[in-house]
Symmetry: C3
Subunit: 306 residues, 3 copies
Amino acid sequence: MKLQHVIESQQFTLPMLVELFELADQMDRILIRGGTQDYNNKIMASLFYEHSTRTRFSFESAMHRLGGNILATERANTFSSVAAGETLEDTIRVVGHYADVIVLRHNEVGGARRAAAVSSTPIVNAGDGKGGQHPTQALLDLYTIYKGVKTIEGVKVALVGNLTDGRTVRSLAYLLGKFERVKIYFIAPHSFQIKQDILDYLTKHNVWFTLESDLKKTLPEVDVVYSTRIEPELLTQRGERLETISQYFIDDTLLKLLPSHALVMHPLPRLHEISPSIDSDPRAAYFKQTRNGVLIRMALLVSVLG
Amino acid sequence: MKLQHVIESQQFTLPMLVELFELADQMDRILIRGGTQDYNNKIMASLFYEHSTRTRFSFESAMHRLGGNILATERANTFSSVAAGETLEDTIRVVGHYADVIVLRHNEVGGARRAAAVSSTPIVNAGDGKGGQHPTQALLDLYTIYKGVKTIEGVKVALVGNLTDGRTVRSLAYLLGKFERVKIYFIAPHSFQIKQDILDYLTKHNVWFTLESDLKKTLPEVDVVYSTRIEPELLTQRGERLETISQYFIDDTLLKLLPSHALVMHPLPRLHEISPSIDSDPRAAYFKQTRNGVLIRMALLVSVLG
Amino acid sequence: MKLQHVIESQQFTLPMLVELFELADQMDRILIRGGTQDYNNKIMASLFYEHSTRTRFSFESAMHRLGGNILATERANTFSSVAAGETLEDTIRVVGHYADVIVLRHNEVGGARRAAAVSSTPIVNAGDGKGGQHPTQALLDLYTIYKGVKTIEGVKVALVGNLTDGRTVRSLAYLLGKFERVKIYFIAPHSFQIKQDILDYLTKHNVWFTLESDLKKTLPEVDVVYSTRIEPELLTQRGERLETISQYFIDDTLLKLLPSHALVMHPLPRLHEISPSIDSDPRAAYFKQTRNGVLIRMALLVSVLG
């Protein structure tokens, strides 16, 4: 698979996803053998206009596992040139002469697309803006389901927490909709439910879904429970009761309701969504997501570097 | 060519410049073949007391293309030791035990020279102070002329914009003065013209020059037009009219006046000096300067690392 | 020697110290030959919750000399996840999927121990909290004595300056106490003398020591004088006279009193403790400490990476 840029989840068709996941499996075998030096003449620039040390480390780890080199800045917005008013387009063309691939975290929706429009160097979107895309997170989530449940077709997934604002769950719902016989349970207090645009998309593609507020009732039915945070301050702002949050706290009691083959996922960091007491349960998949993130990013880097 | 340190433009004689450019050409061929691993046991420390992500990336890219390794700090001034009052000399001796070459961006004029005086590890000056030196920028500019016009002897160069304060144009004028039959056109509003010290130097070395304020008239005569920014706030401060700036804006109309073999150069970032509409014109050389910067820095690193 | 984690000086027995120093000697030979690429598939994460560019550079230089790769952050406390309230334990588990060894500089005493408790990836403590441990500094100090004096048994060491608060001298006193027939001279103004806990430890292990305030008298007797800074503002705060400090200023006059085989050491940065005029004296060992720090850290990395 040769990709020119990685900009948004929508660019991946079903056959591309399958091919990407096979490539990630291959990266897993390479990683177990200690990585490769095949890309030791390649340079990846981490161009971060916003802090996200975790995402940056994940990409940089992936590049190093391939033998490659890194140019990094955590403060692209203090680039003297950016401060001087340089356009994103000019910055990208300059950095394109320093690196073979640019991993871009931009602070504006559509930043990655603008960059790709002028760049002969591959752009990989590492998140653009609050309401924008973060495709590599969505891909690693889907890959974790694929590896953990062995299939995505027919999978039953509960998405839990702040579904209104969560970029992660919105993208995942979008990608899940591409597979056959998937069932999605959106579980959230009323003022945190998933937005209509995603529901319209799922309806159009004949994807089964339901909107719930009761996690307990749903747990026995699903293969995956994907938890995300509701900030307490948002709860009160939107007129929900603080106690609501405790219903979504996954601890040993709630875990008993979940089938033995199922997965508990979370994009991390977690605070009061998942009890550390269940970390050693084989169903706890949130740290596996971290590892799978490196594999997916290795696969994407290989796909754009050729 | 073996260099001990790279501190200022003045240290390069004409034969050294020719040798450096031939080495840079060789680096170009290495880069096209994918770089080398010849320096994979070498470490370059980027010791930046001021932000300059672009210059840092250019050096780090050069070092990676040679196979080498990087220690980087964008905030050398918050080095706990520097905050504690450590002298630059002590810091340099310490870092000299961590690296094989130190790329130093210091905030004081003469910083690089002070560092070199105590350092057995090579120092490369990546800019020292506002009125100080930035020799690698001047060298990459000269190299871009050499590659683009095929010769430097007899070249006719228009230097445009803020010539009073621009470190870049001052250094370039200095280096150009070393070559035979060069003609330099200093084009700027009165309060932004080149300072007398440079004119004295050129007079002493029998270099032809003229001081102009009209760019249009000069364009048909030159091989290179090198544009730099005049900050609008400085214009009003110095009693010039804001409209003056528009005379120096290089767009399709002005480009028509320039010979077909000529180059448009700019140290970047550009704001209102050059229209993006001319970016695809073969004469637009400002992004080529970026690439040439990597080649020149590879050549300099090779020269100091041996 | 296979180490799981490097957390505190106390974990090193006498035979382990001997083995570590032999390994560091071996690293010296490797460094002279230009380093190795043996660890080119390994990744070290520099996770610094506090600035310490010097310590970070030393570790990163060591890792590069082994051929390895680096993930670095100088601002782990602005990790978006940490800002969001993530526990150190979760952060460590995440970073453990990105790297093969984590060098941790934490802002709380016991941070490294907490990290090691949950980490299957080796943790190396690069300093934790003001009153905490900085074991690699203590090890490089001891190694410098071992290399400079040829033995540690029977060595006579003057520890000078702020002995109350200095993490460095406290750890070094602790390690010295493990060797036979060592003599320790604690030389400080009354309100900066070593604390009782260290004296109790030395008494218990039958280590000879004395408390002095006169450096001049002691110099002729010792093999090592280890100087540390007393901040002038602390002097007045604690009711000592500012002139006291000048008694501890090691210059040419004081140096004459020191045996010709002895060492002058300092953890750096130095300000008014040691005159630059003695830098070229063969007894000046403070910059050698810097180099030995790289060797000790190479040896420790090899020991945890296996």
